[in-house]
């Protein structure tokens, strides 16, 4: 037996309303995001076909943040995530592993060679016969080409590198494929998305599909889109991967969670990514 979700959230909204009074300055849901006065981000879009019966419009998490947090993402200098992009750029150019190679030796300047990459991951890899996240692809490069040690799936080296690789795709629409051999992973991810977990018996959908835009305590619930990942969070002042965020969400349902990099989270990332097909790649974005 679980607590009724609607009852819990209703109570939470009431408490939030009391705490916040009029609730001004929470978020400007109509705001438009232009980064560096140059990159026009699509922060709201028509829902992709597979969500046609569920949602009319998909929204970037940016839409739900406060004015101050929104402003941090409008300029790459104000966005603290970029100091970690700089750190990753040093790693990109540094040789590592027995082969004595750096990322740059094969891929030159990531601002040219990595255009469009973030937008299509996770992606089926025919040669390896597996669905790969960007993290898995980076580790495949490290072990296969560089003969270097794998990076920890959600460690800082890895999350910083995924942020760097995302930068040249900013403003491009997320366009993750889920047909062919990827489909069975997509179905598995979808099942996870709608499966209630934990003592609170909450599925992803209970908050991010049924209640986006509502308050959960003092937090403004988003649609749980991952087009902005990795994100710089004000909470922990570092870049956070999608899998780390999934883990945090599932832990908050008071469940044992899957591990970052697990088959379950890879499948969930594929499914959640396709819920955002049509939104712009924003990473590294800024959230609370």
């Amino acid at each position: 037996m679980g607590i009724s979700l609607r009852g819990t959230l209703g109570l939470a909204s009431a408490v939030a309303a009391l705490t916040l009074g009029t609730g001004t300055a929470i978020a400007d849901e109509e705001a438009e995001l232009v980064v560096n006065e140059e990159i026009e981000m699509v922060v709201r879009a028509e829902a992709p076909d597979h969500l046609a019966d569920t949602l009319d419009t998909i929204y970037s998490g940016w839409v739900f943040r406060s004015d101050e947090t929104q402003a941090l993402q409008a300029d790459d200098f104000d966005n603290p995530g970029f100091v970690f992009v700089d750190v990753a750029m040093d790693a990109w150019n540094a040789a590592d592993g027995a082969a004595g190679k750096s990322c740059a030796d094969c891929h030159n300047d990531p601002m040219d060679s990595m255009v469009g990459v973030r937008a299509v991951y996770p992606k089926w890899n025919d040669e390896a016969g597996e669905l790969r996240t960007l993290e898995m692809q980076i580790n495949a490069c490290r072990t296969g080409q560089m003969e270097a040690e794998e990076w920890k799936y959600d460690g800082s080296d890895m999350v910083n590198m995924t942020a760097l690789i995302s930068v040249p795709s900013r403003g491009l629409p997320v366009n993750v494929a889920y047909d062919g051999p990827a489909q069975e992973y997509w179905e598995m991810g979808k099942e996870l998305y709608y499966t209630r977990t934990g003592q609170l018996e909450l599925a992803c959908a209970n908050c991010h599909e049924d209640h986006y835009g509502d308050m959960i305590r003092a937090d403004h619930l988003s649609q749980g889109q991952i087009n902005g990942f990795p994100v710089y969070r004000l909470k922990n002042a570092k870049l956070n991967s999608a899998h780390a965020r999934f883990k945090g969400c599932i832990r908050d349902t008071r469940a044992h969670t899957y591990k970052p990099g697990s088959a379950e989270f890879v499948a969930l990332e594929l499914y959640v990514a396709t819920r955002g097909n049509g939104l712009s790649v924003e990473a590294p974005s800024v959230r609370n």
């Binding site: 200098f77 603290p80 100091v83 002042a237």
Partner: protein, 109 residues
């Protein structure tokens, strides 16, 4: 030297003589406040950037005493006069004695 400390500075490359310009700075630093405890309940010692200074051709622009209440990855935005061509020097002082420096040249347009 604390691990992974990296400064970022945004300064226009050119300015008119006597022009006021906006400068933004950020340095990656955990700014451990000295108020937190580890999982064993022991106090984590304070480790912060405690001072940040900016000068141009040796003349002072700004000198900030920084306390643990400043956020992780400390950020400062301010305005400076550029009387002639020259170089800004930005300096961050770490509790552990390390000093991090960044320099940016400005030409007169």
């Amino acid at each position: 030297m604390a691990k992974g400390v990296k400064p970022r500075v945004k300064v226009p490359k050119t300015a008119a003589a006597g022009e006021a310009i906006t400068i933004k700075t950020l340095i990656s630093h955990k700014m451990e406040s000295g108020q937190r405890k580890d999982s064993d309940g022991n106090l984590i010692p304070r480790s912060i950037i405690n001072r940040f200074t900016t000068s141009f051709n040796g003349q002072e622009v700004l000198d900030v005493v920084v306390e643990p209440a400043v956020s992780t990855n400390p950020y400062f935005e301010f305005e400076a006069l550029v009387p002639e061509a020259g170089e800004f020097t930005f300096t961050w002082y770490d509790d552990d004695g390390s000093v991090y420096e960044a320099k940016k040249a400005v030409a007169i347009a």
